[in-house]
Amino acid sequence: MIRKHFIKTSAIALGCMGLAGAAQAEETIKIGVLHSLSGTMAISETSLKDVVLMAVEELNAAGGVLGKQVEAVVVDPASDWPLFNEKAKELITKENVAVTFGCWTSVSRKSVLPVYEEYNALLFYPVQYEGEEQSLNVVYTGASPNQQLIPAAEYMMKEMGCTKFYLLGTDYVFPRTANKVLKAYLKSVGVADEDIIEEYTPFHHQDYQTIVAKIKKFGASGDACVLSTINGDSNVPFYKEFANQGLTSDLCPIMAFSVAEDELRAMDVQPLVGHLAAWNYFQSIDTKENKEFVKAFKKYCADNGLPGGMDRVTDDPIEAAYFGVKGWAMACEKAGSVDVDAVREAIYGMEFSAPGGAKKFHETNQHTYKPVLVGEIMKDGQFKIVWETEGLVEPDSYSKLLHTDGNFPAPTGGPKK
């Protein structure tokens, strides 16, 4: 008690001189958590912050990393892209974090990327994205397009017998690039131009009447499907409108790439039942490891009084954020230090177990080998897994479908020369 008090007072005394951080740094390893806790992206990103903190707690309970306790520094970049950049600088230069776990949107990643490359720091990015990027300072634990889009399109054609595709998305870079990749793929397997429609809506679009009417017309022949990259809060009105105009998953299935359990938790699931989503992980994966993970997460949320408590669910980005922390810790042990270059080398080709099953980091491109699963939405907001790839799918950093000449850019960032 006395000791604690002493530490506190001395910390206050030293605080002004900025020595407190240095004194603590010797005992603990600091990691940064860079997820929006306010603003429009808070809806998705708060769960990632929660699971990262849970993973840190687990690491510490198991003795920490390299014998040291891990201390998480949480900041709120407030869904504000310039602030992401400032916060990244703060984490790296002021807090001296060994690694950062963060970002959701591509623009936030693009915004912090120069900082991580300049300081040769390390960022774990847990969300599926449009690809076309490979920085030596980022470890991508989410899916690249060929680990989500292509297998899903293949499934729609072969298993569902769809011949017409309505590519519908929110108007920003991920859907645009995703649809570029999808279109290139669909054409390469012989789908005619007029059987593919591309359509975009603004962010936070709420009124899908006209578009659903178009889909209804497009799908009147009964062999069409929607490949949806609609983002965030626009999903609810879209699915509601879809059901209200009398379309069902039998008549025109929707394959979604941005709807996971955490989003479904917030939706009136009824209109969505029977529609599909493609991810690399579902909460319903029936293994012992996964059940324990789900249980631990629910318990963590309940114990810490987080909104939702025991009703919280896990999903693909949450798993990716979680195994990012665990994978980083494992790489540190393997490398024997938290030095960025050593950790990066340790990561290449490293196999590890994650809640959703064994996975592996890529040998060269900082992405992650993952299985691809297709799930059908059930009325309890969970997915019934109806299809999965055999084994793990190799990630592309740059899409082979877009770079048909095989001319891939060199990776950026890395150690200072």
Partner: protein
Amino acid sequence: MTERTMNEPAGIHLGSICGTSASQINKAFAGALLAFAILLPMLAHAGVVSVETVNMAGRYMALGIVALGLDLIWGYTGILSLCQALFFALGGYAMGIHLAHQGTLHNGIPESLYVVYPYKVGESKGMEVLPWFWLIFKPFNLTILLGILIPGLVAGLIGFAGFISRVKGVYFSILTQALTVAAMMFFSKNEMKLCGTNGITNFTTLAGHELSDPNVKIGLYVVTLICLIGTYLICLLLTKSRFGRVLLAVRDSETALRFAGYKPYAFKAAIFIFAGMLAGLAGMLYTPQANIITPSYMEARWSILMVVWVAVGGRGTLFGAVAGAMVINLLYNAMTSQWSIGSFDWKPDYWPLVLGMLFILVVLALPDGLAGLWRKMVGRIAEVD
């Protein structure tokens, strides 16, 4: 009824200087601040403060330039514009495109454009697929010129069209806000070849200097500081001139001014163009220091935040506007981090509560903003002396 705003005195009128000793305090304070701003790069050079602190100060100073312009049109002329963010972004995009030309290329076109390019690039390689509005920003000097002229031109269009048809008060605010939102949607579209929502990134050098070099960062700070001081002085001259007094007249009674034979719209448009140019300049200074420019700068909240800076600082005082921009941004930055003093732990997700309350309190209790508070304090100190 909404016109009540225009008639009530806002901010501190010029010339209401509070005695010699007060003005001495003011001078001393300004001198100290200036000295600190000049000393900052040296401190960074000596390793006392981080170079990123200097970089942050540089960015906030760039935002201070926007606040100066907004103060001229709102504080002095009484026009509440919600499209300064648009002018800021226009300047930022000009510089962004220029920097992208110097940055990493793929297939002959800038990397960030390549990723979102709406057509197949493979066939026609290189520069010929670059649209004209990318090519004009290749030369550095032309970029600087255009980065100020384009916002000025757009401001001129909005200003003349709006002021001649006597769009006033709230109407003008909402009109400019709508315009900014429309522009944001326009810039966000991939087929506009402005890099969509991801914005323009992958910068490496500016005029041959590595952007990641600490000396270049300090250099950019110095340039921003010089620009801030320069524009501050120009604004000061402007407000003290005959022109400045006409602006006050526009704010206080436009009708009376019109009857006196003036054409208020010309004055309004002129100052609006000037403020637009200042915002453009600020955008150009901000972008290389932030390493990215995205359409999110044109979101509604940025426009409103800019007004908040001026309001908190004290509208109608140039110093207050700059101070407001700096103070609010510093607070915002501090409150979105996690820290603890003693047993008090600050949680970053509480920032909107405190900042929101602060906005309310300032508007209610300090109608003249921080500058007004400062004036009162100094006045009191001077009295005691």
